[in-house]
């Protein structure tokens, strides 16, 4: 790392986040290493694999420092040119630079790209800049300075007060003020106390926690140690989904090196603090994101929640005082302690301070991870950063908050996103998934999809959640199959309210949100299914027929090529026809047609 800071040497950062890895970034990295040793490059060069840069759409990404060059969609076959031209001779490879769709110009640095311009990185500050396996990289970017500051210059209660003053609220979904939680645990006389990191990220469409654990594991560890000091805890647990194998590996490496450097173990940095962390691999249960279920799971039981009339800060893991926070929350702690609460609280809205990481996915041009100040509008996130809807289709809705969240219509796109505004709109922050839907998304089917997801993920303990979900699912399925009745809509609402009022845990209490929010904003779509036996988006197969508009069809043949069942025929440059008997209503034709010639009947 020292040498990499040398002005004469170059640092090549290869994004090895999940998205880039699947697109072949490991091969790019290995090829770079090989090429640099084999060829006679005279420039001193360091190559590092990094965590996710967030811009998964354009991966694999390769950044070259200090020139600040970002190459997109790099293949292993591009490596010789990169080494010969850019590294050796300082020439830019135009073809690998991002092309701005508006100006049509090539852009050299990712800092000049709309996707990054509006972002403000706190939780993600190191990701993509460091090798997650290297504690030296983390330390070189001020890592563990916040811990040293807390231990040497602050009392435990000053740390708690600082976190309270920052206004930080839990990033896992609930939005409970983090500092208040710490204060409650700090005030408990019982020992031992525990600190838990909730890395059981399970919202479909959210992957920010994965990215942080994989790309900057030390920030999570540092946050937890600071909390241990503040509340007087001796042991910590990081509960991670076992499916996140890279996160498990990188956290393991980070814990080991933190121990070797004296950040974990006895008398941390010469202080009285003794604290260590172990990793617990989750068993694949969405409900374990609920904190009482997660603790039951760590204890070695079935992950069923319990009533939280006594908070975990009083009686948590093994009945002891416990602070449990989500990954992104932990990642903010070192920043708050290091830079001060005031600086953190200067960002965001009145009720929600700091930034939030969102995973922007679905029908949007730039899918990926974005971190923006609280209060940024949905429109900015989806259209400015996300680049809008691909394929010239129309925006229909945006779903936030995962299965517990709701669908928000176009009329609310100027909503300033924070914990409270989303709740008001009938959705929630959740862990920060933003799923963009276009006119090819059926809102009834999407409600059914979420309820179906929860049918498998509910723990099944309490009646309103278990049986309520089943009743909702049966009713929604009937509507999607064209067997809906108008009174079904009342029944859906009735059951939804009881689930909200009477369920044991937050999963059950929010499980009906997708149903209630789609009923609130997209009732006409429900009615189209029930009254007209028609699915306007062309998704519900029983209610859909596709036809080709002979007036708009150019006979390009793209639909024929993509039809999996050979149901489309027609001469070149002549209007094509769909054979309804063969058609399986998969929608490949409508999704591939560039002329909007495929219609839903």
């Amino acid at each position: 790392m020292q040498a990499a800071n040398d002005l004469d040497s170059k640092l090549i950062l290869v994004c090895c986040g999940t998205g880039c890895l699947a697109n072949g970034s490991r091969e790019v990295y290995q090829s770079l290493k090989k090429q640099l040793t084999d060829s006679e490059v005279t420039v001193s060069t360091f190559t590092k694999p990094t965590g996710c840069n967030g811009w998964c759409e354009k991966g694999p990404l390769v950044k070259i420092m200090p020139d600040d060059i970002t190459y997109c969609q790099v293949k292993a076959s591009d490596v010789p040119a990169i080494v010969e031209k850019t590294i050796q001779n300082g020439e830019l490879l135009e073809r690998l630079l991002y092309r701005d769709p508006q100006t049509k110009k090539r852009v050299k640095s990712h800092h000049q790209i709309d996707f990054y311009k509006k972002q403000h990185k706190l939780a993600l500050r190191n990701i993509g800049e460091i090798d997650p396996a290297s504690i030296d990289d983390y330390i070189a970017r001020d890592g563990y300075k916040a811990l040293a500051k807390a231990l040497r210059k602050m009392t435990p209660s000053e740390v708690v007060e600082e976190v309270i003053a920052s206004g930080l609220r839990g990033r896992g979904g609930g939005g409970f003020p983090t500092g208040i939680k710490w204060r409650a645990a700090a005030g408990q006389p019982a020992q031992p106390k525990y600190v838990i990191c909730n890395g059981d990220e399970g919202d479909p469409g959210a992957f920010m926690d994965r990215s942080i654990m994989e790309g900057d594991p030390h920030t999570v560890i540092e946050g937890m140690i600071i909390c241990a000091y503040a509340i007087g805890a001796t042991r910590g647990f990081i509960y991670v989904r076992d499916e996140y194998s890279l996160a498990v590996t990188n956290l393991g490496i980070a814990i080991d090196s933190a121990r070797r450097h004296g950040y974990l173990g006895n008398n941390i940095l010469g202080s009285q603090l003794c604290f260590d962390i172990e990793i617990v691999r989750g068993g694949g249960a969405f409900v374990c994101g609920e904190e009482t279920a997660l603790m039951a799971s760590i204890e070695g039981n079935v992950g069923e929640p319990r009533d939280k009339y006594v908070f975990p800060t009083e009686k948590g893991l093994w009945g002891q005082p416990t602070v449990i926070n989500n990954v992104e929350t932990w990642a903010n702690i070192p920043v708050i302690i290091q830079d001060g609460a005031e600086q953190f609280a200067a960002l965001g809205t009145a009720g929600s301070k700091g930034t939030k990481v969102f995973s922007l996915v679905g029908k949007v041009v730039n899918t990926g991870l974005v971190e923006v100040p609280m209060g940024t509008t949905l429109r900015d996130i989806i259209f400015t950063i996300g680049g809008g809807i691909p394929g010239g289709r129309g925006f229909k809705a945006v779903q936030t908050g995962g299965p517990s969240g709701g669908c928000i219509p176009e009329s609310k796109l100027d909503l300033q996103v924070d914990f409270d505004s989303l709740l008001e709109a009938g959705s929630m922050m959740g862990s920060g998934g933003i799923i963009v839907m276009d006119d090819r998304t059926c809102m009834v089917e999407i409600a059914r999809y979420y309820v179906h997801f929860l049918a498998g993920e509910s723990c099944g303990k309490c009646t309103p959640c278990r049986e309520g979900i089943k009743a909702l699912l049966d009713t929604l399925t009937a509507i999607c199959h064209g067997q809906g009745r108008e009174e079904d809509l009342l029944y859906l609402e009735e059951i939804s309210h009881t689930m909200q009022d009477a369920s044991l845990c937050a999963l059950g209490r929010t499980a009906a949100n997708p149903v209630l929010s789609t009923l609130r904003y997209f009732k006409d779509e429900y009615l189209a299914h029930i009254r007209e036996h028609c699915c306007p988006a062309g998704i519900c197969r029983e209610l859909t027929e596709f036809e080709i508009d002979p007036a708009t069809c150019t006979g390009c043949g793209l639909c024929t090529k993509n039809c999996p069942v050979d149901a489309i025929s027609g001469e070149k440059k002549q209007a094509h026809i769909i054979d309804q008997n063969k058609c399986i209503r998969c929608g490949e034709c409508i999704d591939h047609c560039r002329f909007n010639a495929v219609l839903v009947r």
Partner: protein, 245 residues
């Protein structure tokens, strides 16, 4: 500690649940998964009540809510009635085969739902059987799988190896969902057959061989000198009366 339940001030021991406090004071809160012997499970949610603490009020499960402050409790409001009605509706929808649930169902007016006519289920997943098996038997059964697939079962649905055939599960089950059949000398439960041991005097079944062994292993005795408890008491009484004669 003094709290108010349905506008009536009552004196309670701190730490007990709202449900216990209510029952001690003769106030009825309906429950399906509660049994005094096991405490609150918080599963059926029939016992939801409204708790007012200062200015804030919320709905809680009375069987798991420990009283630690001077709260005001309401056990029947329109909101609570709606919850109970829907819970009964949902459970009857799940287990239409149960006479027990049908009776509850008829007590409450119901919104229209889609009942599946072919369901032959009686179990409402109150898990009293699992609790009984834990406390009195040998934890042979458990709640298995999850979500809408959750049910009560033995490992792999096989004849329960750990089962001692005590029948506590079947006895506590409110809906008669656990099949237990008895013939002259056999009891069948959880796919397993047990030999019944009868009292040498009156011939009443005392339990299964496994059950008696289990009780003996815990230091107790259910069949001293081959007699059931009733006959043993009778015999003792005879002995005592003979002694004093």
């Amino acid at each position: 500690m003094r709290i108010i339940i349905d506008e009536k001030p009552v004196e309670v021991e701190p730490g007990i649940t709202i449900l216990e406090a209510a029952r001690q004071n003769g106030i009825d809160i309906p429950t399906l998964c509660y049994h005094e012997a096991f405490g609150g499970q918080g599963m059926c949610r029939m016992c939801m009540v409204e708790v007012k603490n200062g200015t804030s009020s919320r709905l809680v499960a009375s069987c798991t809510y420990p009283i630690s402050e001077e709260i005001e409790v309401r056990t029947s409001t329109p909101a609570i009635a709606r919850i109970r009605r829907n819970i009964i509706g949902l459970l009857y929808r799940r287990a239409p085969n149960s006479e027990f649930m049908r009776q509850w169902y008829e007590k409450y007016e119901q919104p229209q739902s889609r009942l599946s006519p072919d369901v032959e289920e009686s179990c409402i997943l109150c898990r009293l059987c699992v609790k009984a098996c834990e406390e009195m038997g040998s934890s042979a059964i458990a709640a298995v799988f999850r979500g809408t697939e959750k049910r009560i079962g033995t490992p792999y649905d096989d004849a329960a190896t750990a089962c001692i055939g005590c029948g506590a599960c079947a006895q506590i089950c409110p809906t008669g969902a656990i099949a237990m059949t008895e013939s002259e000398d056999r009891r069948t439960i959880w796919n397993r057959e047990f030999a019944l041991v009868r009292c040498q005097k009156c011939g009443r079944p005392v339990g299964t061989g496994e059950q008696l062994e289990y009780i003996a292993s815990k230091g107790g005795s259910a069949l001293e000198s081959g007699l059931c408890q009733v006959c043993r008491k009778k015999q003792a009484a005879v002995r005592v009366s003979e002694f004093y004669r």
